[in-house]
């Protein structure tokens, strides 16, 4: 067995190490997974992506031994767990599957508290943890704690599934197409919420999907797999998009790589555009003055907390007739937060009036706007630096080719 060279940076410590992992089924000519070696660094989301039947789900399920490997080793946090008690092992690993699989006969609180209960936590500690997690996923504990899964929407069930996987605070999470069964609009929102959550909890995550766009959005690193779970390229999303290893990878990425790169930049990474603003107590005449002094077609009304309330055009203000500003114009419908990707912002602003996306922070306070000019600036900037993204040097030493090719 060959030892991998030691890492140059401490934070790059592998949390999960798969060594020469093989899964062969009887009466099948080719193994589902053949001699796979892969390191998953601590605190990162590693996405396994590939066409259906490439062995990505089998690979993931060998990590928590839902599927037992035929040969090879699984090392978790420095400990060989290939022969460990599978139930004990699984209690240390969060698990989210596409169908979520909430227990229909148990309340939301009981569902989330499953692993803590099995681990023997006391009632008070479980209740406190459940409430904390419900808060984290933005569901009011007083409202949802005692509800049953059938009373929730698909998106809420998915959130509860994630909370349940996080309940005993595992270091590692396995997610098998976790957003696969959700409508595109909700999926977008859940992906963003999950990324924000991950930026706080910093779990080591193995994420399986067949959707390259999702892989680019979610992954710190992406392993592109083909039949037999062969790693074709294991790299950052930037490198995968700008320097695909071979034709298989470029075919898999498909057309529109520039547009896909909009998934890599976030609203917080670009300079926001400014728009004129007025307080909600201002008069229509004052607002009209502010608007005319600017070169923009609309002025944004902010409430006392600085949160956007209305977009008002000149015509709205002329017809104000003494009514409060907040009853005029259009509410800002395209609202994004700084962690949203430029792709999200573009999607939003295309449909919005005045063709702008309004940016607010976590508390809803107005930050600025994204307009089409900012998006094209960003695309131009990426083209300029595309071949050498600023942060690839730091991760290149964590990259392995397919097993055995080194």
């Amino acid at each position: 067995m060959t030892e991998r060279p030691a890492r140059t940076t401490g934070s790059d410590r592998p949390m999960i190490r798969l060594e020469h992992l093989t899964k062969a089924y009887p009466r099948q000519p080719h193994p589902a997974v053949q001699d796979l070696t892969l390191d998953v660094p601590e605190g990162e989301i590693v996405v396994l992506v590939g066409p259906s039947g490439c062995g990505k789900t089998t690979t993931m399920k060998m990590i928590n031994r839902i599927i037992e490997p035929t040969s090879g080793r699984i090392v978790l946090d420095g400990e060989d767990v290939t022969g460990a008690d599978p139930d004990q092992l699984r209690r240390r690993i969060g698990y989210v599957i596409q169908q979520i699989g909430l227990f229909p006969h148990r309340t939301i609180a009981e569902n989330i508290g499953t692993v803590p209960r099995v681990l023997g936590w006391n009632r008070r500690r479980i209740a406190a943890r459940v409430d904390e997690l419900l808060e984290t996923i933005g569901m009011d504990p007083a409202v949802y704690r005692d509800r049953y899964p059938k009373e929730l929407s698909g998106g809420q069930r998915q959130r509860v599934g994630v909370a349940r996987a996080l309940s005993a605070d595992p270091d590692v999470m396995l997610m098998d197409e976790p957003f696969g069964a959700i409508d595109p609009i909700t999926r977008e929102r859940l992906q963003n919420e999950f990324l924000r959550l991950q930026s706080e909890v910093r779990k080591t995550i193995v994420f399986v999907t067949h959707d390259i766009d999702e892989a680019i959005k979610m992954g710190d690193r992406i392993a592109i797999l083909r039949e037999g779970s062969e790693v074709v390229q294991y790299d950052t999303p930037e490198r995968i998009l700008t320097a695909p290893a071979d034709e298989f990878v470029s075919d898999f990425i498909g057309a529109g790589a520039s547009l896909k790169r909009l998934n890599l930049s976030r609203v917080r990474d670009i300079e926001l555009s400014r728009r004129p603003t007025v307080g909600e107590d201002a008069t229509a005449e004052e607002a009209l003055g502010v608007l005319r002094a600017s070169s923009h077609p609309a002025v944004l009304v902010l409430d006392r907390q600085g949160r956007p309330r209305r977009w008002l055009g000149e015509a709205d203000l002329k017809r104000a007739d003494g009514r409060p500003l907040t009853s005029l114009g259009m509410p800002p419908e395209a609202v994004v937060e700084p962690h949203a990707t430029l792709s999200d912002a573009l999607n939003e602003l295309i449909a919005a009036s005045y063709s702008i996306a309004t940016v607010v922070d976590g508390a809803g306070v107005y930050q600025g706007v994204v307009d089409i000019d900012r998006i094209s600036d960003a695309i131009r900037a990426m083209r300029g630096h595309g071949r050498r993204p600023a942060d690839t040097a730091a991760v290149e030493d964590g990259v392995h080719g397919p097993a055995g090719s080194a």
Binding site: D87, I97, G101, H105, T107, T114, V118, P149
Partner: protein, 222 residues
């Protein structure tokens, strides 16, 4: 012949005269069926749990318990009489055998209907095989299992009446006494007492199961 109204009054008078025996026999009937249903339920659920994951085993168990039901009750009571003697024992044993099929079949069906994704997520969270079965699969299958027990109860309330042939307890006594007095004035009243008693016991059991279903089924499954 009396007019109809008078017939009913005569019958009620007949029952009232024998009210203590009627109550006594009814309570025996309830006790007998309750004991047999409890045994069929425990054994049937156990057999279901042990066999549902293996196609051959579950087919075999369902076929075997189905065969029990094809044995005429009269014959089975007499057959058991030779082994365990007269009285309650042969009746309870025979009724338990008759009660197995609906319980086993519904247990197997209920467990197989549990969404595999739910079982996999339980497995992925580190619940042991036993925890998955007792805390997840069986509670989710429970409404279907309970329906099986309920069906078996309805069947047993009727068959239990035949148990009087081997001197078993219950309302069957009225029916057999009536048979023995065919062509006498009391024959019809005796048989009717038995039949009406059986129907009332069946209705009471059904009411108990409705209540039991409400109390033991998770709100999330309704």
């Amino acid at each position: 012949m009396h007019p109809g109204g008078a017939d009913i009054l005569d019958f009620l008078d007949f029952v009232w005269q024998r009210r203590e025996e009627v109550l006594q026999r009814s309570l025996e009937h309830v006790g007998l069926v309750a004991a047999a249903v409890a045994l069929s339920a425990v054994l049937g659920v156990l057999l279901g749990l042990l066999t549902y994951r293996n196609a051959t085993a579950r087919t075999a168990v369902i076929a075997a318990t189905g065969t029990f039901l094809t044995i005429p009750s009269f014959a089975l009571f007499v057959l058991l009489l030779g082994i365990v003697g007269l009285g309650t024992a042969p009746v309870v044993i025979a009724l338990t055998m008759y009660g197995l099929l609906p319980v086993v079949r519904n247990t197997v069906t209920g467990l197989l209907q549990v969404d595999p994704a739910i079982v996999e997520s339980a497995q992925g969270m580190g619940l042991s095989r036993r925890q998955r079965l007792l805390q997840i699969e069986l509670p989710i299958a429970w409404p279907v299992v309970l329906t099986g027990i309920r069906v078996s109860t309805v069947v047993l309330v009727g068959i239990a009446a035949i148990g009087a042939i081997v001197n078993g307890p219950g309302l069957g006594h009225f029916i057999f006494n009536g048979l023995a007095r065919v062509a006498t004035p009391v024959a019809v009243d005796l048989v009717l007492t038995g039949i009406v008693g059986v129907v009332i016991v069946a209705i009471l059991f059904d009411a108990v199961f409705t209540l039991l279903g409400k109390l033991t089924t998770s709100e999330g499954l309704r």
